[in-house]
Each structure stands twice: as C-alpha cells, then as structure tokens.
C-alpha cells in the first residue's frame, strides 16, 4: 500500500470516529458535519446509479470507429460536426485530448479541426454530459452545449487559419 493511500485510509477512519464520537458526546459541530455528509450521500445515491447506467449503455452501444471513419471523409462544416461527435466519445480530460489531437494532425487533420477537437473534448464528452445533466438538469447542459460548441468551432477556425498562414508546426509532445 502506498503512503498516500495509508494517509487517506487513516483520515477516513479519523473522520468516522470523530463523527461517531460527536453523536455520542452530543458535540454539535461534529453532528452537523455528520448530517451534512449523510444528506449529501443520500442525494448522490439517488442520482449516481442512473448516471452510471446511462454511461454504461452509451459505451456499449456507440462505436467510436463509426465516428472516426466519417472524420476522414467529410470535409467542410460537416467535418467540424464529426469532430465534435468524435470528441464526445473521448474518455478523459484535456491531457488525453492533446496526444489524440496530435495524432489526428499527423494523419492529415487541419489545425482548425484539431483545435475544435480539443475544445469539444473538454466540453462535450457524452459520459460527462450525462453526469452533468443528472445533477444540474437537462436545461443547464443544453444551454452549455449549444452556447459553447459554435464558439469553440469559430475560435478554432480563426486560430487555425491564422496559424496555418504563419506555417505553424505542432510539436510531437515530450
């Protein structure tokens, strides 16, 4: 077991003991912390199973490969839409998107496409959005996606065109 895992586990036990002792000794701050924890956990347990099952279904039924196939063949505006869809299936945050963007670029994707990919993989990942909508409501997610995707595409085109003119080169990372 690693050192940090040991710290976490002992912290966890300290917390449980503290809350339990607070209830026994009628220590109000401790009781409040305990009630906080309890009510948040209940709230989470009502939502989490649904969110994770929807994510599981998404992963089983949606094939990345179909999306990837279209990315190469479609150009123009549709190319951007497929890029956003591809980004939607990305797992992990920005740090995963950079290497993928680099490999897309080396396979021939233009700069504006890879910037769209990076931006969209930050905001449109489907599992993440399912999670968001479960906690914040569908309306919140819809507004966020509809407002941000056009802006991401627009700024990527501006940035991409500007850099292409300047003969900009993406580096291979490390």
């Amino acid at each position: 077991m690693t050192f940090s895992a040991k710290i976490k586990i002992s912290g966890f036990f300290a917390y449980i003991c503290f809350v339990a002792a607070s209830f026994i000794l009628n220590f109000n701050p401790g009781k409040l912390i305990g009630t906080n924890f309890y009510s948040f956990s209940i709230e989470m347990l009502k939502i989490l199973p649904c969110a994770f099952i929807l994510i599981g279904l998404f992963e089983v039924w949606v094939k990345r490969e179909t999306v990837e196939k279209h990315l190469g063949t479609e150009s123009g505006f549709r190319g951007y839409l497929w890029t956003v869809l591809l980004a939607g299936t990305t797992v992990g945050g920005l740090y995963v998107a950079f290497p993928i963007a680099y490999s897309l670029h080396s396979k021939g994707a233009k700069l504006s496409i890879i910037f769209t990919y990076i931006g969209a993989s930050a905001i449109c990942r489907v599992p993440m959005t399912i999670f968001e909508a479960s906690f914040m409501g569908i309306k919140f997610s819809m507004i966020r996606v509809l407002a941000s995707v056009p802006l991401v595409i627009a700024t990527s085109i501006v940035l991409g065109n500007y850099l292409t003119k300047r003969k900009y080169k993406v580096l291979p990372g490390k």
Partner: protein, 160 residues
Amino acid sequence: MVYLYILTILALLISVFKSVDKTSKAVKIAVKKFINILPAFLSMLILVSIILFLIPDEIILKYLGDKNKFVGITLASFFGSVTLMPGFIAYPLCGILLKKGVTYMVLSAFSTTLMMVGILTYPIEKAYFGVKVTIIRNIFSFFIAIVVALMTGIFFGEIG
C-alpha cells in the same frame, strides 16, 4: 429527478429488448465505474461536509448567490481555471452547491472553466502547441466560458 429515472428505465428496456448480452455488459461497466470512483467520491463528500460546515451558508450565498453576480462569476471562473478536478467529482459538487442556493450562472462559470481552461495542464499543452498557442487557446476558452455563463444566467432568469 423523476425524468432521470424514467429516461434510465426506458434506455435499459430498449437495450434489453435489443440485446440482453450488451445490456449486462453495460451494467457491469456502470458498476465498475462506480466502484472505481468511490474512494475519490468519499473524499470529496468528507471534505465538502467539513468545508460547508466551516463556511456558513450566508457567506456562500453572499459571494456566489444571487446578490453579487459579478463577484460570483469572477470567483467561480478563477477557481475553475486554477483547479483540476474530474467532472465525476465536479458535477456532484455543483449539485450540492446548487441546493445551497448558488446560481446556475456561477456554477456554469465554474464547471466550464474547469473543463476548458487548464492552468495545471499548461506544461502538457505547451509540449504540443508551444507557449504562444497554449496561452491564446486558454484565453479564448476563458472567454467562451464567460459567454456560456452569461447565457446560462439569461436563460435561467438570473440576469436581467
């Protein structure tokens, strides 16, 4: 919340109807993901239960609530930009804050900068795109997040 249950049950039924095999696979994925995230989740709940005890609701509402919109968005987008937190932790946290009375607009500024602006991922991004492009992209992203937050505020009737 009711919609979430209805949607999940419908999705499960359709999936079972199409393939029992794939559905059981999906449920297995769901359970596995849930177990994987559980330690981080517990830590978050413990921290939040303590922090929200230490910071009274009035203070939270004073800075992140309806009264002081400008301060709320500024604070939220600052914290969103400098922290690195998986969405699986961030959205439940937003859900808790929402229940406390923090506005949708502020939570939108927080979650969108969290996802798009990466001050902590700067070294990785720099390695691929160089300093200048990394900075430009992050500035663009920051402004997109602000626009998204304002749109959220407008549609939820929090501005105006």
